[in-house]
Amino acid sequence: MTDQSSDQPGEERGGTTRRRALMLGAVGASAVVSIRPALAQTQASVINCEIPVPDAGRAGSYIAADGSIVPAGTPGAFPPASLAFKGEDVKTALAGGQLPGTTYEQNQAYVKYIRRLQSGTSGFTCFASLQMPRG
């Protein structure tokens, strides 16, 4: 169904047989723009969302160097972050920056923890939205 008659200017106009020029375009070009569903995670909300390390269900546990959650006091592991990290901070950290108030090794461990977040864990939606840059 066409809402408006789709005329084809140039195509056999006035009885001539001159064909309309058409470019297929470069391989890397694009002829289709799809309208994406609006995600709940708008830009503003990403900046305003946060990720606790570790999540509230395991508050007090330590974070090992590989990002796993270990009992409090485990040697070589890092104590929980005192405040949840903001989406912006995590975004920077994922790009190679450092989470505020962390040492180098602590930052590495926290970032690994964040990367391992599972759906359903607090902070996951925030993290997932950071992984999906809007076009």
């Binding site: 809402d3 723009v33 309208i35 994406r36 569903p37 609006a38 709940a40 995670q41 708008t42 503003a44 909300s45 900046i47 305003n48 969302c49 946060e50 990720i51 949840a84 903001k86 607090s122 902070g123 996951f124 939606t125 925030c126």
Partner: protein
């Protein structure tokens, strides 16, 4: 659109009661959405009280706000219900003002000045329909008003106070995630006529901080920009498509750059009289 707001603290409710005093109750006593402001941890009610946003529709992991910004939290939570849950109208993140039954919609990124312009036009004889959301009825194409507190940020606060010395304002909320915020209470006309829809007549994409300029936009650019400004375009399916294509085909659209409010108002009035 009516809301029910519950809070673990009295203060945000008291502020809402004061600022929304003249507003009608929800029809049949049944609000469209429920909003809750709560302490995520019991001790957060008293100890560095932090307001978590809740309600029918929520964003997981949203950062809580300090209790001093409870009014902002309430407004954000209500807006969130609209952004995530509105399915009756095509929702455009736009401000709207009306004159003679026709509406100007203004949309743009945060900081474009849509709230400020709507407030200032409201001071010049236009009816304020809303500063945050414009609701387009897919069945009629008409814009419905959503005249909530006008959220003014930073420098805009003094600009609007100067233009509307008699108006009522909420408390100054300093240091929010968006800077300083102060809410303007819509005037009596905006509240009294909130049930009156208007014919969309002009769509503007304002941009603050540039030399005055304006340009037309092709329909496909308008379409893309409006879908980006809508939180429920895709969710509405074909009804959204109908409403959006109607807007794009029937309503003229202009992008305007402006260096200050006076110049923007002049641009809008000029464009309006040329319609």
């Amino acid at each position: 659109m009516g809301f029910r707001v519950g809070s673990d603290w009295r203060a945000p409710i008291a502020e809402l009661e004061r600022l929304y005093a003249g507003y009608p109750q929800p029809e049949d006593g049944i609000p469209d959405f429920t909003v809750r402001l709560f302490a995520a941890r019991p001790w957060r009610r008293w100890l560095r009280p932090a307001v978590t946003l809740g309600g029918d529709f929520v964003l997981p992991d949203a950062a809580p706000l300090p209790l001093a910004q409870g009014l902002l939290a309430a407004e954000m939570a209500m807006n969130l219900q609209m952004a995530l849950g509105q399915r009756r109208y095509l929702l455009l993140h736009a401000s709207a003002v009306e004159r003679d039954g026709c509406a100007v919609l203004m949309t743009g990124l945060s900081g474009a000045g849509k709230s400020t312009l709507a407030a200032l036009l409201g001071a010049r004889g236009w009816r304020l329909m809303g500063d945050e959301f414009a609701l387009v009825d897919p069945a009629t194409g008409l814009v419905h008003a959503f005249p909530r507190l006008v959220s003014l940020k930073n420098a805009a606060i003094d600009v609007v106070r100067a233009a509307l010395p008699e108006a009522r304002f909420g408390p100054l909320l300093a240091g929010t995630p968006k800077g300083d915020i102060r809410h303007l209470v819509p005037d009596a006309e905006a509240v009294a006529r909130m049930a009156e829809p208007a014919q969309p007549a002009l769509i503007l994409f304002p941009r603050f901080g540039f030399d005055a300029a304006e340009r037309g936009l092709g329909p496909s650019e308008v379409f893309v920009r409006l879908t980006q400004a809508s939180t429920n375009y895709v969710a509405l399916g074909e009804r959204g498509f109908e409403a959006m294509t109607r807007l794009v085909r029937e309503v003229p659209a202009r992008a305007i750059d402006y260096p200050d409010a006076d110049s923007a108002i002049a641009q809008v009035e000029t464009l309006w009289s040329a319609l």
